[in-house]
Symmetry: C2
Subunit: 226 residues, 2 copies
């Protein structure tokens, strides 16, 4: 017998990947909206809404309404504290990641993140650009001249994109891969181009499916680093 109080319920609440992502996204103390958290969690908005309701009801989150937005933040430092300890423990106990990111294998290899490519393919793309000196890795990555030429060869007009008011390059920590992929105007343009080239197409949900030929071409254009 014996019983630890609602500890199981509490841990279970954190134990869902989507909810864990939501909590981690709030770890820096910012307040985010439901929609933003849905993206952070990698789920649809309704799903995230449900998770947020549970977290709120459990007293993990504080809500602030402002206009038609709803801003959510961690309810206190003790919540952040537990998360951090869990991270520490997760680190100590080792590399064993049971199940992070989406369950759907298709989502793990290539999916939509906002409007750009995420998942294993997205990480591969970014990594490949960096390794070959086409993009300088930084919080706000920049495209080198070599890179601009290379991308032009693929039909992406970096100069034009740079003139827009949207940041050209951003990197985004990939949910399932835990490494960066390419975001920003260039990230979006790259995905459009991949689709235009017929290498990949968007499917239902957030899945991006490569064609067999497209997969080969993609691997040639953005060879995976060893």
């Amino acid at each position: 017998m014996k019983d630890g109080p609602s500890i199981a319920a509490t841990a279970a609440l954190i134990g869902d990947p989507a909810r864990a992502n939501i909590l981690v996204a709030l770890m820096d103390g910012r307040a985010l909206t439901v929609t933003e958290l849905a993206h952070a969690a990698g789920t649809s908005i309704p799903t995230a809404s449900g998770h947020i309701a549970k977290l709120s009801e459990a007293g993990f989150l504080a809500t602030r309404r402002q206009g038609r937005h709803r801003y959510l933040s961690l309810s206190g430092p003790d919540v952040a504290d537990v998360i951090e300890r869990l991270m520490g423990l997760a680190g100590r106990t080792g590399a064993r990641r049971m199940r992070t990111g989406p369950r759907d294998p298709a989502l793990r290899t290539a999916r939509l993140c906002y409007d750009h490519l995420a998942g294993a393919s997205g990480v591969q793309l970014y990594r490949s650009l960096v390794v070959r000196g086409f993009v300088a890795d930084a919080a706000h990555p920049s495209v080198t001249e070599d890179g601009a030429r290379f991308l032009a060869g693929l039909g992406v007009d970096v100069g034009g994109l740079a003139r827009g008011r949207r940041p050209l390059c951003l990197r985004c920590l990939d949910w399932s891969e835990r490494r960066h992929h390419l975001a920003g105007a260039l990230g979006a343009a790259m995905l459009v181009r991949l689709v235009d080239l017929g290498w990949a197409r968007r499917e239902d949900g957030r899945v991006i499916r490569f064609t067999p030929a497209g997969e080969t071409a993609f691997a040639r254009a953005f060879p995976p680093s060893p």
Copy 2:
């Protein structure tokens, strides 16, 4: 996107009620066997074995083999630390116990704990004995003279039990009720007597089912305290 590392997996590991009970049972630093932990978790031995395997693989538990027993303990203070923080958080965020103890309602009201009565009925029995001064509540409770007479009236020979080498009275923190119930030689004898009297019978698994008449008699003998 963004991702908290294996934090979700780690939390999910603690988030299962059975596993949480196992961890809590080990919180005092003792090393327990698989069978003992199965009882602590309130599950069958195979189930507990599976959970223990997962916890071990995750690095939460340390194993020590001795004879044909396998002793398990927490692998380090950081594990206990996380559990304690979770307890604190669970406490702060309030009374909301989502789901502790067994799912089966029958198990919650009356069940077997080793060889004595647990669940709501077990708690009621112990509480009733204490409230009426038949048992002195303590880590090792004792039966008063009034209590011995009262129990004799029910057909339980306290004096005989006291001569055995098994501790007469122990209390056991009830898993689902989070209050004590009666264990020890007297606890076992009480259950035997309840069955002999035809008030209750053991069913499959750990369920103890009261007969309608037995339920009434039980409520008269051990009236629930207000």
